[in-house]
């Protein structure tokens, strides 16, 4: 038994290291595609079940409160509560979709709408899975936005889904500048789920709490002017070359349900489409 177990462990370790090496050399498509064929439909189905379960749970909780307050009107109150919840949910969803549609129509670039079907929030990787993939002409590094601003970029494309690396992912970096002072720098994700702006000390002396940061558009990956976040705190490091500013993201990544993928190419400034800076 022991030899068989050790051989199995050795084989598993060998396969894993081979997979890692192949990925580091750029051969990722075959393995991830094969797994995606199995995982994507299950993720979509579970996502729907999850949303339904959360809806049922909140409805039940509300029902309990109403019952405690007024037993005689329990049945009526329960029905009213459920109806109210449904209406509120519909109105909120309607408003979200209207904002998304307005942004999609106003964008000077070709976009594709998508729905979030899974989230990875462990800290090692912070990503969202969108139900748009290779069959929808999504490519790697496609920019992903919401009506409030930039969400991140596509890092993996599968047949029916794409993985989006959000701005708070520890491996995420985006070129940005402060709208008021034009100070250039880099926005980096942090393991604790926050993000920070790294900038040259002598250029950034005028940065203040509340300043808006937008994408620079350099490199051609993201359009210029997409809101990224606002300065929450400034980490003044004295005479150091770089200073840091803690940011509040323009988009609440944990609550976003619908997104736009920018599939068209271009370097237009889209700052005018986000008048409030997204926050």
């Amino acid at each position: 038994m022991k030899i068989r177990a050790i051989v199995l462990l050795g084989t598993v370790a060998g396969v894993c290291l081979l997979l890692l090496t192949l990925q580091m050399r750029g051969h990722t498509a075959i393995a991830s595609d094969a797994l995606a064929i199995v995982t994507t439909p299950v993720q979509s189905a579970l996502s729907r079940v999850n949303r339904a379960a959360v809806g049922v749970w909140s409805t039940y909780r509300d029902w309990k409160n109403v019952r405690a307050e007024n037993r005689r009107l329990r049945d009526e109150a329960q029905q009213l509560r459920i109806d109210a919840l449904r209406v509120t949910e519909t109105i909120e969803e309607n408003a979200r979709l209207r904002r998304l549609l307005a942004l999609k129509e106003a964008m000077p670039l070709a976009t594709l709408s998508g729905e979030i079907i899974a989230r990875e929030w462990g800290g090692w990787v912070r990503s969202l899975t969108v139900n748009r993939g290779r069959s929808d002409q999504v490519t790697r590094l496609t920019a992903v936005i919401a009506p409030d601003g930039l969400i991140g970029r596509v890092v993996d494309v599968r047949p029916g889904a794409s993985i989006v690396q959000v701005l708070t992912d520890p491996a995420s970096t985006v070129g940005a500048h402060v709208v008021r002072t034009r100070t250039q720098g880099i926005v980096e994700g942090e393991p604790r789920g926050t993000m920070r702006f790294k900038y040259m000390a002598r250029d950034g002396s005028g940065i203040q709490v509340g300043d808006l940061l937008v994408s620079t558009g350099s490199g051609g990956l993201f359009p210029r002017g997409l809101p990224i976040g606002r300065v929450r705190a400034i980490d003044d490091r004295g005479s150091a070359l770089f200073h840091y500013a803690q940011l509040t993201p323009a988009v609440d990544f944990a609550r976003i349900d619908e997104v736009l993928l920018i599939v068209g190419e271009g370097s237009q400034d889209v700052a005018g489409l986000f008048p409030g800076g997204g926050i």
């Binding site: 995982t39 579970l46 999850n50």
Partner: protein, 162 residues
């Protein structure tokens, strides 16, 4: 039984990415597949633990968009180790389960960090331990103990009814 095991391993990996965020407390999510792998390894031994860890980890890697093989390897190692030690461990007490799962999560985090560092993972070690690994380890400890208690209770009810 085989169907149950397949559902547990496969479900653990996929549910983690899809439903796991709903279980977040203060932005800390439990590592459900790790708990499932440890429970399976304790019951079925090192070979099964290793295989279950590999499959669950691979599915987690695939679902999260990270490097394929990192969690597959670390979870396979955890499954193998726990499966090998299973007979010698007294795991029926919550006082053993909670710190045991905490230590295993930290060990898995260290192995993962070492492996990712080989492939140029940029995050700093101290922050990862403070904000990701240790909170998740505590969460895993309590969630895993609750799961064991629930399973024990379910088994005792089944025995009484049969």
């Amino acid at each position: 039984m085989r169907t149950f095991v397949a559902v547990a391993v496969f479900g653990g990996g996929i549910v983690h990415a899809t439903v796991g965020p709903a279980l977040r407390i203060a932005d800390v999510a439990p590592d459900i597949p790790l708990i499932v792998v440890v429970l399976l390894a304790l019951r079925r031994g090192p070979e099964f633990g290793c295989g279950a860890g590999f499959v669950a980890g691979l599915l987690q890697d695939a679902a999260s968009g990270g490097l394929l093989g990192v969690q597959a390897l670390t979870k396979a190692l955890i499954g193998f180790t726990i499966g090998s030690l299973g007979g010698r461990l007294r795991v029926s007490q919550p006082l053993v389960q909670v710190p045991g799962l905490v230590l295993l999560t930290v060990a898995e985090g260290l192995a993962r960090f070492a492996l990712l560092k080989l492939f140029r993972f940029p995050a700093p070690f101290g922050e990862l331990m403070t904000y990701v690994v240790l909170p998740q380890a505590l969460y895993n400890g309590f969630l895993g103990a609750a799961l064991v208690l629930a399973l024990t209770w379910a088994e005792s009810v089944r025995e009484r009814t049969s």
